[in-house]
């Protein structure tokens, strides 16, 4: 807080101390910093890289420039800045929805399409002379009504920058920000908590478009000139460089990058001809060796800011709204073929009572694939999967999960770079939040009776600020199991929950599974190799072999079954 107050005082005093020239220079950089903030949000938080932010900056600059010229000095023009920004934001949201719609693709496709869009926008601005003024751009744009002196424009930009930082700070603290950080590293896990990650990413891109738009809308009255270069490649590239060099992962990183590199560039560009080459080399070095950027170098000096405030008192999470009925699951003759390999071969099985069901079978029998089909991550070619009577085999994963299914993956996949508290919070939000709730930072303090009971059993779960990557393997398995339990699904899928655990840890996990089953009366399906565990856990056993159901029944039935013996031990038949 102290650092922020110092920064704000410095912002306010700068024109008085440094004079009008620097006020003018800085106000331009503030506008760029607002846009760079959006790049930091997409890249540093949500994990995808927009290479064409100039599109949104330029679009909004043209809109605001045209309106200022058309309706000179009407006071309602002050409304225009947010409107132009919203237009850019809406376009970004739309593009995000379109591109992220199916693939959940965050890699090259998204970046290349944004780059191509920016180049396209640059071409349109260049060629559409009647509206945009062509190559020379829109000239003689008047300032905002009543705010057209250099100093007034400075304060407008400064206030906009401060407000943008506050807004992004808010988002980073809210559940939305936590989910962005989570999906950047493990998108599949976030989907398995029932969140539509494609929409979350589209929202992130929309916010970044809004910020770029705000920058552009202020740029036009401030500079009095809008040219096609704003839309195109150069500004888009500069924004990425500033965000990276400043430090994309932190709120103030991109701001620092834009202000510092921007100021140095205007000071050095003409006198030092290798300046831009130097910046490109610095960028490569930062990407390769020091992703935290300049702001990461300040970390040692942050001690004086004092300790992080502890989390305030916990809030009770609302109960998950779902039908109290017992989960009913049916596989009806499900066929899955990938390439030439028959993964599931007319698999049929049904579960219609609570209890612990174990799925066993040799390697390649289709156990994990069965789970993948159930959660919609593997598509079946024929047959039906029903949950509570509803056919779910064509639903998207996050929708299937939202019906009341939870899943723990084979390899522990907790959100390693997030704190334990945030890991647990994400599980608690699953199935209990509406989209608007994701904007409320207080949801990070949620707790539930089940969580408290788990924390009593496993005190390390209460060690809120510890990062999950610091946990030992056994603790991670427990955390992963806790995450799967906390969303309180009616059907819980556990894939080898004891893999790689010591006998003692295994006993603990078995204990938790039994306890959760008795306490919650949920249906739990466990994939397990170890027959001794199956004997301890299972109320009912399914044996899979070559993608179909070989046998089912109680543990004793299975052990007496000849065909089961045959596949495990081998037989003459």
């Amino acid at each position: 807080m102290r650092a922020a107050s110092v920064a704000i005082v410095a912002l306010l005093l700068l024109p008085l101390v440094a004079g009008e020239f620097w006020a003018y220079q800085m106000s331009l950089l503030y506008v760029y910093a607002i846009a760079a903030l959006g790049v930091g949000l997409c890249w540093g938080r949500a994990g995808f890289l927009p290479l064409g932010q100039g599109l949104f900056f330029g679009l909004s600059a043209y809109l605001s420039g045209l309106a200022l010229i058309e309706f000179d000095q009407s006071f309602w023009l002050l409304l225009l800045v947010p409107l132009a920004a919203v237009a850019s934001g809406a376009l970004a949201l739309l593009i995000g929805m379109l591109v992220f719609r199916r693939q959940g693709e965050s890699g090259p496709y998204f970046s290349m399409i944004t780059l191509a869009l920016a180049l396209l926008a640059g071409q349109v601005a260049n060629n559409w002379e009647s509206v945009t003024g062509g190559f020379n751009g829109l000239k003689g744009i008047p300032g905002l009504p009543g705010l057209d002196s250099f100093v007034a424009a400075y304060y407008v930009a400064a206030v906009a920058l401060v407000l943008s930082c506050v807004a992004v700070f808010w988002l980073y603290r809210a559940p939305l920000g936590v989910l962005w950080a989570a999906l950047a590293h493990n998108e599949r896990r976030v989907v398995l908590f029932g969140f539509d990650t494609n929409r979350l990413k589209a929202v992130a891109f929309g916010v970044s478009g809004l910020l770029a738009g705000l920058g552009g809308a202020l740029y036009a009255p401030q500079q009095g000139l809008v040219t096609p270069q704003l839309c195109g490649f150069v500004l888009s590239a500069d924004l990425v460089i500033w965000a990276a060099v400043g430090g994309r992962g932190r709120l103030f990183g991109p701001v620092l990058g834009a202000l510092l590199i921007g100021a140095l560039t205007s000071a050095l560009r003409d006198s030092f001809r290798f300046w831009e080459i130097t910046i490109a080399i610095v960028f490569i070095a930062i990407v390769l060796a020091y992703p935290r950027g300049l702001i990461g170098m300040l970390a040692p000096f942050e001690l004086w800011r004092g300790k992080r405030p502890q989390r305030a008192a916990v809030l009770g999470a609302p109960a998950r709204v779902q039908s109290g009925e017992v989960a009913r699951l049916q596989f009806e003759e499900v066929d899955v073929k990938v390439g030439e390999v028959q993964i599931l071969d007319r698999l049929s099985l049904a579960i219609d009572r609570p209890g612990i069901f174990c799925v066993i079978g040799p390697n390649g029998a289709g156990k994990t694939s069965t789970f993948n089909v159930l959660t919609g991550e593997l598509r079946s070619q024929a047959g039906r999967v029903r949950f509570d009577g509803l056919a779910i085999d064509h639903l998207q994963t996050h929708r299937i999960v939202a019906l009341g299914i939870g899943r723990k993956l084979q390899i522990p996949s907790v959100f390693a770079h997030l704190s334990i508290a945030d890991n647990l919070a994400i599980a608690l939000w699953s199935g209990r939040t509406k989209p608007a709730d994701l904007l409320q930072p207080r949801l990070r303090r949620w707790s539930s009776p089940l969580l408290q009971a788990l924390q009593e059993r496993y005190p390390f779960l209460a060690d809120a600020e510890r990062t999950a990557s610091e946990l030992a393997h056994g603790e991670r398995q427990i955390l992963e199991l806790a995450l799967a339990l906390l969303s309180e699904p009616r059907l819980l899928l556990l894939d080898e929950p004891c893999a790689g655990l010591s006998p003692q840890e295994t006993a603990q996990v078995i204990d938790v599974i039994r306890w959760a089953s008795e306490r919650r009366g949920a249906t739990i399906v466990v994939i397990e190799h170890d027959m001794s565990l199956v004997r301890e856990l299972a109320d009912h056993v399914f044996v899979l072999h070559n993608g179909s159901l070989l046998a089912q029944g109680s543990v004793a039935d299975i052990q007496a079954n000849d065909s089961v013996k045959a596949i495990y031990v081998g037989s003459e038949k």
């Binding site: 890289l49 970046s111 191509a116 071409q123 590239a237 490109a280 960028f283």
Partner: protein
């Protein structure tokens, strides 16, 4: 009338051939190593500037080819060794890194040659009669060279021991290493081959386009879309992609303008991303 049709057909063939030639280097690197080299367009640009250097020194055009292969080969080796190879299996970081590299190369070109457009004279001038249509000789030569390069490459990849080893490397690097194949050396060679092909393409297209530091952007985008549409890992994919993208671009550009063509290509790429993310000729 017939001659107009022939000319149009040759134009289309030319557009596809050039696009396939330019995309080839990217296809090799992206398809075999999984590295989307965003500096690919800039390597093409370097090739074009090699032609310019040869011209200003009064050397014959043909000398630009070894020059480009030398410059781009060394560049590819250095980049693979020290920048890209630490990042295999981290596609996102390679993307950002090669994007930074593209920036660096562009800035270097700006510093060395300035922002202005350079014109390269065609080494083979004049026209030739093809089925009644008069067509520039250099363009015909370029079509022939593209076809030749593709055929040689395909035959070599399908028949040679090295090609088989590269296939093994692509399929399963760990196993290939265990069998005594020097995977890191093959990866390096593949990357260098990709940059050399890009440089070669740059030299060959130099007389037909304005040579300037920003020319790489268009080439990387178009090449990337060719691979999106066609799919990775096969020559059929490369040609189909080049035909779809090149065809769309030239037809729509002819009807409206270059912005329209560009827009259609972009829409097409997004549609493919939805419906067929692994392209028309998917590897699997």
């Amino acid at each position: 009338m017939e001659s107009v049709l022939v000319a149009q057909a040759l134009n289309a063939l030319f557009a596809v051939a050039v696009l396939a030639l330019v995309a080839l280097g990217l296809a090799v690197v992206f398809g075999l190593l999984g590295v989307l080299n965003l500096a690919h367009g800039e390597v093409v640009m370097i090739g074009a500037y090699c032609a310019y250097v040869a011209q200003t020194n009064g050397w014959p055009f043909i000398t630009a080819l070894p020059l480009a292969i030398a410059v781009c080969g060394v560049l590819g080796f250095v980049v693979e060794r020290w920048l890209v190879s630490p990042l295999y299996n981290r596609p996102f970081d390679t993307l950002v890194l090669t994007w930074g590299l593209s920036l660096l190369i562009r800035k270097c070109a700006e510093t060395m040659f300035g922002l202005g457009y350079k014109n390269i004279t065609e080494p083979v001038s004049g026209t030739l009669d093809v089925l009644g249509a008069t067509y520039p000789r250099y363009r015909l030569l370029l079509i022939a060279v593209s076809v030749g390069v593709l055929v040689v490459l395909v035959l070599w990849y399908a028949r040679s021991r090295t090609g088989t080893r590269i296939k093994a490397m692509v399929d399963n690097p760990e196993l290939a290493r265990a069998l005594g194949i020097r995977v890191s050396r093959f990866a390096s060679a593949t990357f260098v081959a990709g940059t050399c092909l890009a440089g070669l393409a740059g030299v060959l297209i130099a007389p037909l386009v304005p040579v300037q530091p920003f020319m790489g952007l268009d080439h990387i985008l178009m090449s990337f879309f060719v691979l999106v549409v066609g799919g990775l890992g096969s020559v059929a994919g490369l040609l189909t992609g080049a035909a779809v993208i090149g065809g769309t671009n030239s037809v729509v550009s002819a009807i409206s303008d270059s912005t329209g063509g560009y827009f259609c290509v972009l829409v097409l790429a997004i549609l493919f991303l939805w419906q067929r993310p692994s392209g028309i000729h998917a590897r699997r």
